[in-house]
């Protein structure tokens, strides 16, 4: 019987987002996305480029947090300036956790509620979302799947672009928009439905499709091959433990629940 936690299952699901990407910069922002990208590089997609989450390209993913005697293995350089050049050239697949996501895949990291001039909550700003979303592959991470994240209408401040036709005027090039997957604490989704509609690909153990639908502010589809999200293997768990020696992954989901939900 596996001892895996839900966070570990999500790390493995996140890692799958980069499978087969080849030589692109894998940018996992936050604990689970970063561990997912690291796991991808160490297992199925070793060609991925990755940074030390600061300025240098590393040939081996570095562990999270204080790392004792561990010496990063640098293979190159990736200042913010270079990251922008990479973004605009399109050879990147990022995974970030936006505050809001809508049915068109548009994302928000700026302000929520109230008016734009006097918002209820100011967050960070649009950051790099407009540039990332219109230039390269992106996946999304949601540790708290609910209708406050997956909103009924449009997100409050469209920061990252999506597939809403009315937003794309004649002459605007949509060809590089490439939304891949959304990994949440309930399921894994993609944009494979008609007109890029969001579908559930896999449900985490013990989660029902109805539960996902109830926690989502818009209708979702079930992928034809809807299945259960795979549990981490022992090999994957060992790699995750090595990459995250301080167990920062235990802080991602409240109370760090197990991957297999206890029977209600």
């Amino acid at each position: 019987m596996t001892q895996a936690t839900l966070a570990e299952l999500m790390i493995v699901a996140a890692s799958e987002c980069w499978r087969g990407d080849g030589e692109v910069l894998a940018s996992g922002i936050g604990i689970v996305p970063r561990l997912g990208a690291s796991l991808a590089k160490l297992t199925h997609t070793p060609e991925l480029l990755m940074t030390d989450s600061e300025t240098f390209l590393v040939s081996e993913p570095i562990p999270l947090g204080p790392r004792g005697d561990y010496q990063p293995r640098y293979e190159g350089y990736m200042s913010f300036d270079r990251v922008f050049e990479c973004v605009w050239g399109g050879l990147r697949h990022a995974m970030i956790g936006p505050t809001q996501i809508d049915r068109w895949g548009q994302t928000n990291l700026s302000v929520v509620g109230g008016s734009y001039d006097k918002p209820k909550t100011a967050i960070l700003g649009v950051r790099g979302l407009p540039g990332n979303s219109i230039n390269h592959a992106n996946s999304l991470f949601v540790p708290n799947h609910g209708p406050r994240v997956f909103v009924a209408g449009e997100v409050d401040m469209v920061s990252g672009v999506g597939y809403k036709p009315e937003r794309w005027l004649p002459g605007m090039k949509q060809d590089y928009v490439d939304l891949r997957r959304i990994v949440t604490d309930l399921c894994v989704m993609d944009f494979g439905g008609p007109d890029h509609a969001i579908r559930v690909r896999s449900l985490h153990p013990g989660v029902s499709f109805e539960q996902v639908q109830a926690a989502t502010g818009f209708p979702v589809l079930a992928a034809p091959d809807l299945h259960e999200t795979p549990l981490p293997t022992d090999e994957q768990l060992a790699i995750i433990a090595r990459l995250d020696p301080h167990r920062l992954r235990a802080t991602v989901i409240k109370n760090d629940p197990p991957a297999i939900k206890a029977a209600a």
């Binding site: 030390d52 989450s53 600061e54 300025t55 240098f56 947090g65 204080p66 790392r67 200042s79 913010f80 300036d81 922008f84 973004v87 605009w88 700026s110 302000v111 109230g114 734009y116 001039d117 006097k118 918002p119 209820k120 909550t121 100011a122 967050i123 960070l124 700003g125 649009v126 950051r127 790099g128 979302l129 407009p130 540039g131 979303s133 219109i134 230039n135 401040m157 469209v158 920061s159 990252g160 672009v161 999506g162 809403k164 937003r167 794309w168 005027l169 004649p170 002459g171 605007m172 090039k173 949509q174 590089y176």
Partner: protein, 293 residues
């Protein structure tokens, strides 16, 4: 006759005026010219348009009521993601904003440095950045592709404030940080660029390898301020790390009654020497460990 651009922080701030557009170098909690910002906080200058990859300096300038308009892509302290005084000002509708993608921001600085009115980019299309900034227009490619781009307007600066690792009295500078960020573009976009530095030299005499850390020309630099520890409490790679204890105290002050007034009394309405003493002394500042990511 040898050039001598050395100035005090007060002399630099005396060159600034209310209503100016001021660019601040660095990125979030990294390499912010905090000695110069503190001097600005002490002044009666106001109604500024601040252009920044924002960190705590934006929150402080907002809290002090110095900001009329903010041009930004984000304001954050990284390890403390939400900048408390920026949030307050933003949520109170106290500041006008021009919110941009990080790359559009870079493009605006580049355009200004190249003396262009705009540079084209795909970034910003199909987002609310355009909806919320109706002054930003699109442009159609004159070539066969006919593609529609954002015409990112130049972000012209009256002055730029930067913090560098080394400088000399001529205005030569070295940024030896692992990431030079976009300080070179701020220098080019500004009518007048002022730098503070950890180490001031009479005249830099460099070997070829070190000379590569000189990222913009001295003709861009109007004044040089010797300010060891001058990025505190932000991260000044490779010299010292950020002061998380200080940033936490600053962050906590925003939720305390009279918190900003107390922060000002403790850390702004004092001399820079007193500031550093309260921060544990220059020896402590310069030994702050770089963050591990």
């Amino acid at each position: 006759m040898a050039l001598n651009k050395q100035r005090s922080a007060a002399e630099v701030v005396a060159q600034l005026r209310s209503g100016m557009t001021i660019g601040i170098g660095g990125w979030g909690p990294r390499r912010k010219p905090m000695t110069l910002v503190r001097e600005l906080l002490r002044s009666d200058i106001r109604d500024l348009t601040v252009v920044s990859y924002g960190g705590p300096e934006v929150g402080m300038l907002c809290a002090a009521g110095k900001v009329r308009k903010l041009v930004y892509g984000f304001v954050t302290m990284d390890a403390i993601p939400l900048e408390p005084y920026f949030r307050k000002a933003r949520e109170a509708g106290q500041i006008e904003v021009m919110e941009l993608d990080e790359g559009m921001f870079e493009w605006g600085l580049r355009a200004a440095g190249m003396r262009m009115s705009f540079l084209p980019t795909r970034v910003g299309l199909a987002t609310d950045v355009l909806a919320r900034n109706p002054q930003i227009k699109t442009i159609t490619s004159p070539y066969d592709d006919g593609e529609v781009y954002v015409a990112m307007p130049a972000l012209k600066l009256d002055a730029a404030l930067l913090h560098v690792n080394d400088a000399d009295r001529w205005g030569n500078t070295l940024i030896t940080a692992h990431d030079p960020l976009f300080d070179n573009l701020f220098a080019r976009a500004a009518d007048a660029c002022y730098v503070s530095c950890e180490r001031l030299h009479d005249k830099l005499e460099l070997d070829a390898a070190t000379a590569r850390f000189n990222l913009f020309e001295r003709y861009l630099v109007r004044g040089v301020v010797h300010a060891p520890g001058g990025a505190h409490p932000t991260y000044n790679s490779p010299d010292y790390g950020w002061d998380m204890d200080h940033l936490k105290r600053y962050n906590a002050s925003a939720t305390e009654e009279g918190g900003w007034a107390r922060y000002v009394a403790d850390y702004v309405d004092v001399s820079e020497a007193q500031y550093q003493e309260k921060a544990g002394g220059l020896a402590r500042i310069t030994q702050l460990k770089p963050p591990v990511f």
